[in-house]
Symmetry: C2
DNA sequence: TTATTTTTGATACAAAGTAGCAAAACGAAA
DNA sequence: TTTCGTTTTGCTACTTTGTATCAAAAATAA
């Protein structure tokens, strides 16, 4: 099977899982919301909101930014998409949401490429640090910039 | 000694240390850079760039945003100030820069209040996770949202 | 001094995100 | 099916955040 086909299959898996998740939680994965999610999935990386406006607009119909932002808000609330604050961009959340793990989004400083890793060790260490700081709970998501090993 | 006086003393410590740091590294802590840093120190928390514009502008002289952004860029490069990407704001870096520690900025989701904690445990756990993700190095700074214990 | 580099000022602009309200679509009753 | 309240979408305009550009000023070096 070609890597192209593999990716296509992964895309369909993500779409199906998003569909299931929404159905199970009585959330409505409406056409635009699905189109935004699909575009993020297909891009394979972080995409800016105004990029999504362009990509999902046709010559006939230009979407308003707020339409995209609303769809993104929905997808984020559903846990399907993360916002990368340092990049002003949005990226699909991979992996089953493991409640005890910290979801770390590593962002390559050069290219903006991201890789998501889940780690219970980091979660535990951050929880301890949070306690020190007087925080009772912390977000299970964080963003860390770094340099990707450039394998040519 | 009053807590007010204690804070004043802390402020002066930070200013002096910033001055020393710049002198030692041949960096120029010019008047406007120092004013921006001082304002951040005195505020005791994160402040937005345009807030700084207002606070440092007088009736006679209105500073241009770019002036503030340049000062902030300098201060960030010097390691004196952090940008909180999730809050679009800037905050002074506390603590001696311990090279082996992760500097975690906990941000209260409700108030925006921040507390900085340095942790070698988190640094180590993140480093391991980064290795998994194929990252050779990571930023020693991260931002985590959470809920502060509300001590009334 | 004179030349070179760095910093600041001023204007305009770009990019990211939101407010407000009306129309449309949807979902649950009746 | 019709009614009615709720949710979603479209549309316009607007706010907030951050930059590009180029000239003037200040600092540093020669
Ligand atoms: Zn939301
Ligand atoms: Zn995720
Ligand atoms: Zn810089
Ligand atoms: Zn710091």
């Amino acid at each position: 099977m070609s890597t192209r086909a593999v990716r296509k299959e992964e895309e369909e898996n993500l779409l199906r899982r998003a569909d299931d998740l929404c159905r199970q939680n009585n959330l409505r994965l409406t056409p635009i919301r699905e189109r935004v999610y699909r575009e993020l999935v297909q891009s394979g990386g972080p995409v800016g909101a105004y990029d999504l406006v362009d990509r999902l607009s046709s010559d006939k119909k230009r979407l308003a930014p707020v339409t995209i932002y609303r769809a993104l808000d929905f997808l984020r609330d559903a846990g399907l998409v993360h916002r990368l604050a340092t990049q002003n961009s949005y990226v699909v959340s991979h992996g089953q949401p493991d409640v005890n793990a910290m979801k770390i989004m590593f962002v390559d400083s050069k290219t903006g490429e991201t890789i998501e890793v889940h780690s219970t060790e980091v979660a535990e260490a951050v929880r301890k640090a949070a306690e020190q700081a007087g925080f009772k709970s912390v977000s299970p998501f964080m963003e860390v910039e770094g340099e990707l090993n450039r394998q040519s």
